[in-house]
């Protein structure tokens, strides 16, 4: 059992889970053609929760969080985000998307725009915030992720870790109430993983509701209040990190943990 490798102490004073429900998923199913990718997913996320979703590749963990902002469509069951149910109604989809931030494995910054423009684009065009105000907000968040001096560069000129931090800042500029992370560190060199995780920890310390698909088990132990293990499109086990890592119940979870933590 490896211990969390974060040197600094984590400030837990704002990490409070409220009773208010942020995301509710009920009996959700999804198919790709004939292939049943997500099977009967039931999940309730309260505001302030920090959930880490783990599992082998192809287990449907990315697909599940991508359903939450409708990047993937579900075929049956209910998904309610912040009181808005996701249906084919475009208004609801836009509303949910502007409340839910997402960070991708491959950053997906817009290469033809500067870092600052990347961060101000959605606030200006979706939230209709004046340009000047949007730029101030963007600079605030860029300072938070510690790259204000790169604001006028283009994404191609930044390192992977810097790009991912910009991607986080870009999402935060929309002042989202929920953040989704889809393997945010999987495409990064080991040296850069830590800078991105640090940014995510700071976010957690401020009480952001977060769902992270990640293989960083150290992060899970340090920050998560709940770990979900998925396999074959189903939620196999969920527990608090301490019990999840030290006392896994299902055979599948034990096998998975022994494989990723065994060396």
């Amino acid at each position: 059992m490896t211990e969390p490798h974060f040197e600094r102490d984590i400030d837990r004073s704002h990490m409070q889970v409220s009773d208010e429900v942020a995301i509710q998923i009920e009996n959700m199913n999804k198919w790709y053609g004939q292939f049943h990718v997500l099977r009967d997913i039931n999940l309730t996320v309260n505001r302030g929760e920090r959930i880490v979703i783990a599992g082998p590749s192809g287990s449907g963990k990315s697909t599940m969080i991508r359903c939450i902002n409708r990047l993937e469509e579900h075929q049956s069951g209910k998904i309610i985000v912040d009181g808005t149910e996701l249906t084919s109604d475009l208004k609801n989809i836009d509303k949910v998307r502007s409340e839910v931030g997402m960070v991708f494995q491959h950053f997906n910054l817009f290469p033809h725009l500067t870092i600052l423009e990347n961060c101000t684009l959605a606030p200006i065009w979706v939230r209709k915030i004046p340009k000047k105000e949007a730029e101030e907000t963007a600079m605030y968040f860029l300072e938070k992720v510690k790259i204000p001096d790169q604001a006028l560069k283009y994404p191609g000129q930044l390192s992977g870790g810097q790009q991912q931090r910009v991607a986080i800042a870009r999402s935060l500029c929309m002042k989202p109430r929920i953040m989704l992370f889809d393997e945010p560190t999987s495409a990064l060199d080991p040296e850069m993983i830590k800078e991105v995780l640090d940014t995510m920890i700071e976010l957690a310390e401020e009480g952001m509701t977060m769902l992270c698909v990640t293989h960083e088990m150290g992060f899970a132990q340090a920050v998560a209040n709940r770990v979900i293990f998925m396999d074959q499109g189903q939620i196999v086990e969920q527990n608090n990190p301490h019990d999840f890592f030290n006392n896994p119940q299902s055979e599948r979870t034990k096998l998975f943990l022994s494989q990723i933590l065994g060396h």
């Binding site: 990047l71 475009l90 991708f104 491959h106 997906n108 817009f110 290469p111 065009w125 979706v126």
Partner: protein, 436 residues
Amino acid sequence: MSTSQTAAFVRKDMLPPKDPPTSQAGLVKWLRENLFASWLNTVLTLASLFVIYLLVTHFYPWFRHSVWNANSIAECRTAIAATWGEGATGACWAMLRERWHQFIFGFYPPELYWRPIAVFLGLLLAVAPVLFTQLPRQMLLFSLTYPLLAIWLLWGGSAWPVIMIAAGFGIGYLALRILGDISAILAVVVAIVAPVLFWLFAVGPLDEVLTKVIPLAIEPVASDRFGGFLLAITIGAGGIALSLPLGIILALGRQSNMFLIKSFSVMFIEFIRGVPLITLLFVASLLLNYFLPPGTNFDIILRVMILVTMFAAAYIAEVIRGGLAALPRGQYEAADALGLDYWKAQRLIILPQALKISIPGIVSTFIGMFKDTTLVTFVGLFDPLKGIPDFIRADFNWKGIYWEPFVFVGAIFFILNFSMSRYAMYLERKLKRDHR
């Protein structure tokens, strides 16, 4: 006994950078790498030099024997024979001296040449802010009004119909602005329907009244007086300006999830691409009138322009589709995740990148289309490459002149197309955003 290095090694000081050896720099290096890199390369270099030598020795005398002052091809031939001896050949540019204006303006009335010249200068002024973003943005206002101004100046006649067309656009814009806050769909519908109704029903009576009150007219020039580069550039510039937006719409339509829009786009593109341009030109000149209400007989240049536009748009749509396909899916997902709707995502994220990738293909299509405007000769218009020279050859004085028109027209086409190609390269360099 073993020679392998197993001892630990620590570098104490880092090596400073040095200049490369002289044989690896400058002209010597360039020549060796580019012209004499290997035996095969050396042979090819020498063979190419020989071909260049042949071409130059073959064509140079023809240009050197040029005659500029003569009244007929016979005088040219006599002059060449007198100076360079019997059997010498030479260019008879005297024909250009006499007839250059027909290559440029066709049969446009000479006393009205100022109008096409003004239109051409206006074209440069209107295109400049579109091509070079560093110019003041207010210039775009002129670019917007330019097409109607150009139409009026070229064809002449009453200014009122042109002003009415502009007024129709103005009505549409107003509808968009006023209703835009209430409902986007309603605004778009009204912005399309209101101007169309205005053009169909209000323009006729209004035009009559206004012409009586203020007769704002210049001398009309009929389409059959157009010719030469005036015709080629009119059709070419009109086609380029119209086919890019149409091509973008078709490319997006072909990617659409909506079945009808997608099928229509696919059918349009595949049909147009499957048919030779000449066929479409014949449709424009002969068939189109059958499909229109009886009595309508709109201008042949306009008809040709519409079909040339459709032809180019189909190709541009495919070029842009290639650019769209080259974008990683993550770009669409990031735009979606930020809450941008379809049109905003296309306009701000997808198209700027897809069009940038498509620049070489788009410009190739434009250049091809501009050159294809010479095909209008087959529907009886006087294009600069065949229509005008044939007309000049019909004059007894210039009967038998052959290469000179091709060289002259070819040179002008080359200058115009080469400029387009260089501009495209400039644009690609300017839009380059480092490695992505």
